[in-house]
Amino acid sequence: MSTNVLVDLSNALAEAAAKAGASTVLVNARQRIPASGIAILADQILTADHTIEREEDITVILPDGVQVSARLAGRDPGSDLAILRLEKPLATPAEPVEAEPRVGQMVLAVGRPTSAGIQASLGVISAIAGPVHTGSGGVLERYIRTDTTPFPGFSGGPLVDSSGRVVGLNTSGFGWGASVTIPADLAWKTAETLASHGHIRRGYLGIRSQAVEIPAASQKALGRSHPTGLLLVGVESDSPAGNAGLMVGDILVGIAGHAVLDHDQLMAYLTGSVVGQPTPIEVLRGGQPATLSVTVGER
């Protein structure tokens, strides 16, 4: 270690970029500029769904320049993630971070939009936010904003910390302006579901609802602080909700043991494991708590 801290920092960043580069690939699945992808297994690439514009003739270029064919194994526009399966298991899997990312942490956005080598931009984690609606029927539980510069073709590539470990997947696909990072733990979990099921199962209840304030007396009856809930203003007949006995006027306040305060939270919990399963839904009916078992349908 030299006595020049800047030189050490500079070297550490160059090494982090190189380490990230070893598991960052180029993804060719659209007419225009290629996108980036993160190898999560030797034969699996995680990338941004919005960069996959065709399902045939998808190719991936590995860090050593080797081109491999890939097929679309699963996609979810709601989370803007997609999994590609490589014809040959030649990729080097990335290492995700273990610790929670923190605001202020120094990070590199890394991409491989050309076969000429990786590209990188430096910044810090500016904010960790969520949950938020993604506009494609999905809810992003948590996301990271940074002040890195998103170069063209960076979507699908990794955000790494100063040790080169993956903090998340960068994407500009939500249309919120600058690039946003999907945290690694969420991305990897979605990747697993996509790889095994091909898509994210989104639950369906058959209700129309509106957020309302819950009066103090009803919160007391619930036995917890619960300021808002979802008033059911419509229940479709012969729907999962209808068949379970939910009624217009019920205020939905919980599902599968999770408190629900707004629509985004409900959407976040109506995925994955509850689909197809009898699931407890907690409501306030006439000011009193009640729990009904709903077999969640699939959208």
Partner: protein
């Protein structure tokens, strides 16, 4: 890490950053044309100033050095294909910038720009080497290697130095693409340009001044 160590570390960082600024500032020049100004650097102690060709106007530019001295700049050499120009000023004993020995820069390496963005003299901005690419040109070379960084640049940075963590020249800041991606001409290309300036077969402006200069300074060839 104790708070003491962190304080020490941030002090060391501040010292290192200051060292870059102190090291580069003596070689940093302002190149003023009739409608504005850009930056330039002292390429040789005998008064050779390197800048972007596009910083020069149609008339003789004036060069303002770090010590406050102001000189008329004579066009010594130009290469539109790489947007570089060499000016000669009647000054000696100047501090020339050091060129980085390594031709290869690494992605992720820290990079700093010194220049005069929006007229702010001697302004430091920082980022990293983001990408190494090539740019197509209309000249004989056909294309040239370029360095792309995420160092914030603005009008007034053109012609100024892009340096590494020890203040050595990595490139000449030349332009901004798409509003936020900065492009620099690599230092080794600038070095070749300076060395080849005397070998230009086309007679150019102030030919005699250039011939005399190189006769006295053979090292530059």
């Amino acid at each position: 890490m104790t708070s003491n160590n962190i304080l020490q570390l941030s002090q060391m960082l501040a010292n290192d950053l200051d060292a870059i600024v102190q090291g580069v500032r003596p070689s940093l020049a302002v190149v003023r044309n009739h409608h504005g100004a850009g930056a330039g650097i002292v390429a040789a102690s005998d008064g050779l100033i390197l800048t972007n060709l596009h910083v020069l106007g149609r008339h003789m530019p004036s060069v303002l050095l770090a010590d406050g001295g102001e000189y008329a700049g004579q066009l010594f050499a130009r290469d539109p294909e790489i947007d570089l120009a060499l000016l000669k000023i009647p000054a000696t004993g100047l501090e020339a910038i050091s060129f980085a020995a390594e031709k290869d820069v690494r992605i992720g390496e820290l990079a700093f720009a010194l220049g005069h963005p929006w007229g702010q003299r001697g302004y430091l901005t920082s980022g990293i080497i983001s990408a190494l690419g090539t740019a197509k040109t209309d000249g004989n070379r056909g294309f040239i290697p370029i360095i792309r960084t995420d160092v914030p640049l603005a009008p007034g940075n053109s012609g100024g130095p892009l340096v590494n963590a020890v203040g050595e020249l990595l490139g000449i800041n030349t332009m901004i693409v798409g509003g936020d991606q900065s492009v620099a001409v690599p230092a080794w290309i600038a070095r070749e340009f300076i060395g080849q300036a005397a070998r230009q077969s086309r007679p150019a402006h102030h030919w005699n001044a250039r011939q005399d200069y190189y006769a006295a300074n053979p090292g530059l060839l």
